[in-house]
Subunit: 308 residues, 2 copies
């Protein structure tokens, strides 16, 4: 069974890890948001791609929720001594990814090609594809002015109220090699429970990707990021209020209308009405068993839709 | 008393440290070889400037002879996992210098300006001036082909026999701001016991620097890098044999003829004949007391020449 999954960072990576225990090797293709990518201290940082790499390589820091396990912080200490910008934390191990990636891209290598080398180096079975090799940058218009996403998210801790979100450069971006093929060649396409506005929308905004989801023969199933009327992780609930959106599955279903055929929601939450197929499951993902359970539930819903 | 000192890395830095205990604050100006600078993994590495920074900031690793004290190596471990080039060791703390410098230079800052910020951040009293802000690159013609210096020095451990040395780009380089002023404004100019061919020659080759040494009113004194007929440190003796040069102070005096007025040699070594003023001292520098002693001896010789 071939599966393509659209994903952002932390929340989505949990589902991708679950899928990787169910789907064989490179039959699983993760199509990853790169609109959070930014240059910091001259280095190309790709937060969601790195989270996928660390998670699938078994190197993610589970307690912290980001970065690497067993990380050390000598670089940051030396950086502070020298008066360098320290609002974004770069661990010593983590730096190896950023330095190698930046050097390779300076030599003309694509983000996809570098990512693929890292996937191989760490013997990750699944394929990890950046959504695009062209730069796309999420910027948020807030009551404190227009901010690049990482400044808003990390430095300002999502404090400013968001008025609108834009993906600068997306209209001239192209899907990375393999993205469209993975969607069209899949037996099921899964949309991970990442932030729809900040993590999935940039992927859908890359010209050609939304259309391929609309036209693929494969069933497309989203796992709702809402649990008990709350966003599980990150700034989503606050953001939805600021954008005058209700925090419920009806809104998620409306948001993904035309793109997804089914929605997996947390058991007990209100199901959206309408044409979309809905299934319930315990969608909280703490343990690896949870992640595998949610992965199976999403694939089961896709298979049910595929047979219908 | 104002002192300018021409220096390379490790050996020279010892003398500069000694001078910094004798000469007040920024009355001491170190003019540093940058022809060993190179880009590694996209980062601008400036080995001799960094050695000066670490040494004068009290952060140098005395046992290892290069790099920082208390260094950690997480970055290198992660780099190896990812198949990155690992022949040049970059410590986690050390990386902060390289990353900040590279980012600043990408923004258009000069190497001098970045170095000055580091000097300030670490409260170093002396001034550290790169010889030039234009790139100059030492390349060695060897029996194994033409090699960039760091490849020859670190990766090949000086194994190939050297036929000649060139400083690529030096003819269009300009002395960094302050270099010529420091030489003309000094009461004494010292040439540190660095490798004359690899560390001092590139400085002298920057158009204008040799001439300013020839014309300055200040006495110019070199501390010989030879002790007991041997080069104290590094690949110098081997290199001199390969270049058909005798390893003795007469050769050093000939090499610096026209540039230096005096030579401080190790006690017991043969003194060169000729017009140059010579003084003897114990020039081995292990302890800080040794370094201060050699610094004082070099300055005493300069004063003697100045009075003559």
């Amino acid at each position: 069974m071939k599966v393509a999954v659209l994903t952002g960072g932390v929340g989505g990576a949990k589902l991708v890890l679950g899928l990787s225990r169910v789907v064989h090797g490179s039959d699983l293709v993760a199509i990853v948001n790169t609109a959070d990518d930014f240059r910091h201290l001259g280095l190309h940082v790709s937060p969601d791609v790195d989270t996928l790499l660390y998670t699938l390589a078994g190197k993610a820091n589970a307690v912290q929720g980001w970065g690497r396990e067993g990380e050390t912080w000598s670089f940051m200490a030396a950086l502070r001594e020298l008066g360098g910008e320290d609002w974004f934390l770069l661990g010593d191990h983590d730096l190896a990814l950023h330095v190698l990636r930046t050097a390779a891209m300076l030599r003309g290598e694509t983000l996809s090609a570098v990512t693929h080398r890292f996937v191989r180096a760490w013997s990750i079975g699944a394929e990890i594809l950046p959504m695009s090799d062209q730069p796309v940058t999420t910027e948020v218009e807030t009551d404190a002015g227009r901010l690049p996403f990482q400044k808003y998210f990390v430095e300002q801790r999502c404090a400013p109220a968001v008025r609108c979100i834009s993906f600068v450069g997306v209209e001239v971006a192209r899907p990375a090699a393999g993205v469209i093929e993975a969607i069209h060649g899949a037996d099921a396409v899964i949309v991970a429970p990442s932030n729809p506005f900040l993590s999935i929308d940039p992927i859908l905004a890359v010209p050609g990707i939304r259309q391929s989801l609309e036209t693929t023969a494969a069933p497309v199933v989203a796992v709702s990021p809402i649990v008990g009327g709350q966003a599980v992780k990150g700034p989503m609930a606050k953001l939805m209020r600021e954008l005058d959106l209700e925090v419920n599955n009806a809104m998620i279903a409306r948001h993904y209308a035309g793109v997804v055929d089914g929605l997996l929601i947390n058991e007990g939450d209100d199901a959206p009405e309408g044409a979309i197929a809905v299934e319930q499951a315990d969608t909280m993902m703490h343990t690896i068993a949870d992640k595998v359970r949610v992965a199976r539930a999403a694939l089961d819903l896709a298979q049910r839709i595929g047979r219908a």
